[in-house]
């Protein structure tokens, strides 16, 4: 049985956003493909919509990566953990992220 080192998604190299280092808070909608950010706020809205976003892993502190935009400009594809999710821009707008220094 191989022994495993503890490496959590939260502590992998790509997530070490150092405070104060070129960080801006923007809406998830405004990231560009390849950019990452840590969720700082999810604006309230309809309960079921918000609950679904939370349960899919989109909560405060989670790290998201902007993957791509659909061919016609909407929706967008994001990565959260190992999952790829499609979100409409209007929904992504409600999510504020702290942009990670690239």
């Amino acid at each position: 049985m191989p022994s495993f080192t503890v490496i959590l998604p939260k502590t992998t190299h790509d997530q070490r956003a150092r405070p104060g280092e070129n960080m801006t808070t923007v809406s998830l909608n405004l990231l560009r493909p390849g950019e990452r950010g840590k969720i700082t706020h999810i604006a309230g809205g309809q309960v079921n919509v918000r609950r679904r976003l939370l349960e899919m892993g989109l909560f405060k502190g989670a790290l998201v990566e902007f993957i791509r935009v659909a061919p016609m400009g909407d929706p967008i594809e994001i990565r959260i953990g190992e999952a790829r999710l499609s979100l409409r821009r209007s929904e992504a707008q409600a999510i504020t992220v702290q942009k990670e220094a690239s």
Binding site: F4, V6, I7, R52, A70
Partner: protein, 706 residues
């Protein structure tokens, strides 16, 4: 052996739960093989898939495949049924004796969210850690022994599509009889925990809930919004008041009630996974990303999408024609045998022209249904469907629908019934209703017999640019117009009485995978069986009734045409003739329209019966119906009964009219009301009548096809 094996008075019920795309269906198929059946849950129409699970010692258990869900707090009807069964909110279905949680190893963190809720329910649980092969090749290593220790429940590694780990999973299921998971290990801040436990105690006390159920319902109550309109019929007013006070208290303390319960579960999951999982390349999908770059590309993405659609239509119309020919000759042979066997008379006539001809007219279309579901199955199982929804969402959004509405509408090309059933995946009730209402406007396979018959009879066999046949183009135009009407009406509905959105658009884009032939074949089998059952029951019965209506009352020494006019069917056709005359239809078409109110394809068998009777003296027997329609003429005037314009008008009418009792029935069940199916029947009939009238008038004016 089998009788001795199952000694228990009642066999155990095992429920299969898991996230969508976790390989749950493949696991269900691997565990049950062909021993499965599909029914519906009482009261609702969520599909209930049940199978027999046979253990090595010969004993058996019932395996229930519950709909895929991300959590037990979900609100779509499909997800709701999982919660209702596990939590025991429904009295009609007993809680299962054991739950098999299918976990997608490639996305274990999010999958464990549901597992954590299931473990809280405190029933015996076994985890099938599925798709471990894909996980390993994407750099995710999971030690299932450590995971099992961390969760307190058995974990078995599986690759369901390859049958790996299935014997061990069965053995583990059999050996697991007790709830071993540690419920509610996730940490909550003190003030929240206090209210949570207080409320759970109150629910146990006042509402006599099982403690584990009480804890589940307490979360539901605490994370809902005041003043809890949906909960008022289930709980006493004092309890609701108590919950509202809790809301105020926690809100005042600055807690985000919804987030807190979700985040603490995820915190717990992180702790559970820490010693058990090693990621070497987090979030990478080397090959999948390359494929996605093409399939979601501005140009290539749509090119591939249109290409796939084109191949789909090609397969339905060209490739399916070969087996259709076999089936058709098979029935001809059967009819011929009956003619040889029986003396001439009513019985022989009933068998050959009523039963055999009627069923043959419909069963011939089985290959097309098989091809269509083969396509849909492959697109779904590879993961392409979600990409299609992704690139189509902007367009669907323009008519107020969801990218996910695309899949039900696409399925409606096969049949509106599975299409309407597939709308359950749409989380927004308004979007779902709009999709259901317009789904029958998409030209389904039942219209194909009508279209192909009329095209074969009246569209010239010319080719344009030597490539595209005029027949194919006509068919494409019909399908395209159907889509256009469906989308325009969806927009109209979403702009009027279904205004606004009420759910998240969020959708998972699963990993690509090699489709599993077993999963696809079983799905095709399910659909084909439903279709054949209809052909063997409703259509057989209707064919016989129709034959009777077209044969009796008998007229002595009459020509076939006079006999038909004299029959009950002829009289019914005459009766509605004034109504359909403005559309250019005569009483014979009227008979077809009346009988096909139940099922569109009956139009073809009705025409078959009607024209077979007219040509009863013709003993060739194999003269195609198309040819007969073309040569049919009015017995009085000698004018042709059908012109090209009549054919076009008929196709337009059938493109837009509901003409399907099964769709009506499924709408009644899915919406749980008479209002929506009646509305659907009403608007579609009005639309079909109006548009056909316009087409006929314009055609007459411009002298097209007359």
């Amino acid at each position: 052996m089998r009788a001795n094996g199952g000694r228990q008075s009642r066999s155990r019920t095992i429920a299969l739960v898991g996230n969508p795309n976790s390989g749950k269906t493949a696991l269900f198929n691997a565990l049950t093989g062909l021993r499965q059946k599909v029914a519906n849950y009482p009261g609702v129409t969520v599909e209930r898939k049940e199978g027999q699970l046979r253990f090595d010692d010969g004993s058996e258990a019932v395996l229930l495949d519950l709909p895929g869900t991300y959590s037990l707090s979900a609100h779509s009807p499909d997800e709701q049924i999982v919660t209702d069964i596990l939590i025991g909110r429904t009295s009609q279905v007993d809680p299962p004796d054991l739950i098999v949680c299918v976990v997608d190893a490639t996305n274990i963190e999010r999958n464990l969210y549901l597992v954590s809720q299931v473990i809280d329910r405190h029933l015996p649980v076994v985890i099938a850690l599925n798709m471990v092969d894909v996980a390993e090749s994407s750099g995710i290593e999971i030690d299932e022994k450590i995971l099992s220790e961390q969760l307190g429940v058995p974990v078995v590694r599986t690759v369901a599509r390859k049958g790996i780990g299935i014997p061990r999973l069965k053995a583990t299921i059999q050996a697991t009889t007790k709830a071993t998971g540690r419920a509610r290990r996730w940490p909550l801040p003190e003030p929240v925990l206090k209210e949570y436990e207080e409320l759970a105690a109150l629910l146990q006390d006042r509402h006599r809930l099982n403690s584990y159920v009480a804890y589940h319902e307490a979360i539901d109550l605490l994370t809902s919004e005041s003043p809890l309109p949906d909960h008022c019929d289930r709980y006493a007013p004092e309890l609701i008041e108590h919950v509202i006070r809790d809301h105020q208290k926690l809100d005042f303390l600055g807690y985000d009630r919804q987030s807190i319960f979700v985040i603490s579960r995820y915190e717990w999951i992180k702790g559970v996974l820490a010693p058990a999982v090693r990621h070497t390349t987090p979030g990478r999908r080397a090959l999948g990303d390359k494929i996605d770059r093409i399939l979601t590309h501005k140009i290539w993405g749509f090119a591939v999408f249109l290409g796939l659609m084109a191949i789909m239509f090609q397969s339905i119309f060209s490739w399916a024609a070969i087996p259709m020919e076999w089936i058709s000759s098979g029935f001809d042979w059967l009819g011929h045998q009956v003619i040889l066997l029986l003396p001439p008379g009513d019985l022989r006539d009933l068998l050959v022209n009523g039963a055999i001809a009627g069923v043959a007219a419909v069963v011939t279309f089985l290959p097309q249904i098989v091809f269509l579901f083969l396509f849909i199955g492959v697109l779904e199982d590879t993961g392409y469907m979600a990409r299609a929804a992704f690139i189509m969402d902007k367009i669907m959004g323009k008519v107020g629908l969801h990218g996910k509405s695309f899949i039900p509408l696409l399925s409606s090309f096969a049949c509106a019934i599975p299409g309407i059933m597939a709308t359950r995946a749409i989380t927004s009730p308004k979007d779902r209703l709009a999709t259901m209402l317009v789904a029958p406007l998409i030209s389904c396979s039942a219209r194909l017999p009508v279209y192909t018959l009329l095209i074969a009879a009246f569209v010239p066999q010319t080719r344009i640019l030597g490539l595209l046949s005029l027949a194919g183009l006509t068919l494409f135009a019909l399908y395209f117009t159907g889509i256009l009407f469906a989308l325009s009406l969806a927009l109209l509905f979403k702009k009027t009485f279904l205004k606004g959105t009420d759910s998240a658009f969020i959708m998972e884009l699963p990993r690509y995978k090699i489709p599993s032939p077993q999963t696809i074949l079983l799905q095709i089998w399910d659909r084909a069986w439903v279709f054949l059952k209809q052909a063997g029951t409703i259509i057989l019965a209707m064919s016989i009734v129709l034959w009777f209506l077209a044969t009796y009352p008998k007229l002595d020494h009459a020509s076939p045409a006079e006999q038909l006019t004299h029959s009950y069917a002829g009289r019914a056709g005459h009766l509605i003739e004034p109504l359909i005359k403005p559309l250019g239809f005569d009483w014979k078409i009227g008979i077809g329209m009346v009988t096909s109110v139940m099922q569109r394809e009956l139009f073809v068998s009705t025409m078959g019966t009607i024209y077979n009777i007219q040509d009863a003296n013709d003993n060739a027997g194999t003269v195609s119906l198309a040819h007969q329609l073309r040569s049919a003429s009015d017995p009085q005037t000698g004018q042709p009964s059908f012109t090209m314009l009549t054919a076009i008008c008929l196709m337009v009418y059938y493109m837009l009219a509901m003409q399907c009792l099964s769709t009506f029935a499924i709408m009644r069940r899915e919406t749980n009301s008479w209002r929506w199916p009646l509305f659907q029947l009403g608007y579609m009939t009005t639309l079909a009548y109006g548009v056909t009238f316009l087409v006929y008038r314009v055609g007459l004016m411009l002298q097209i096809g007359v």
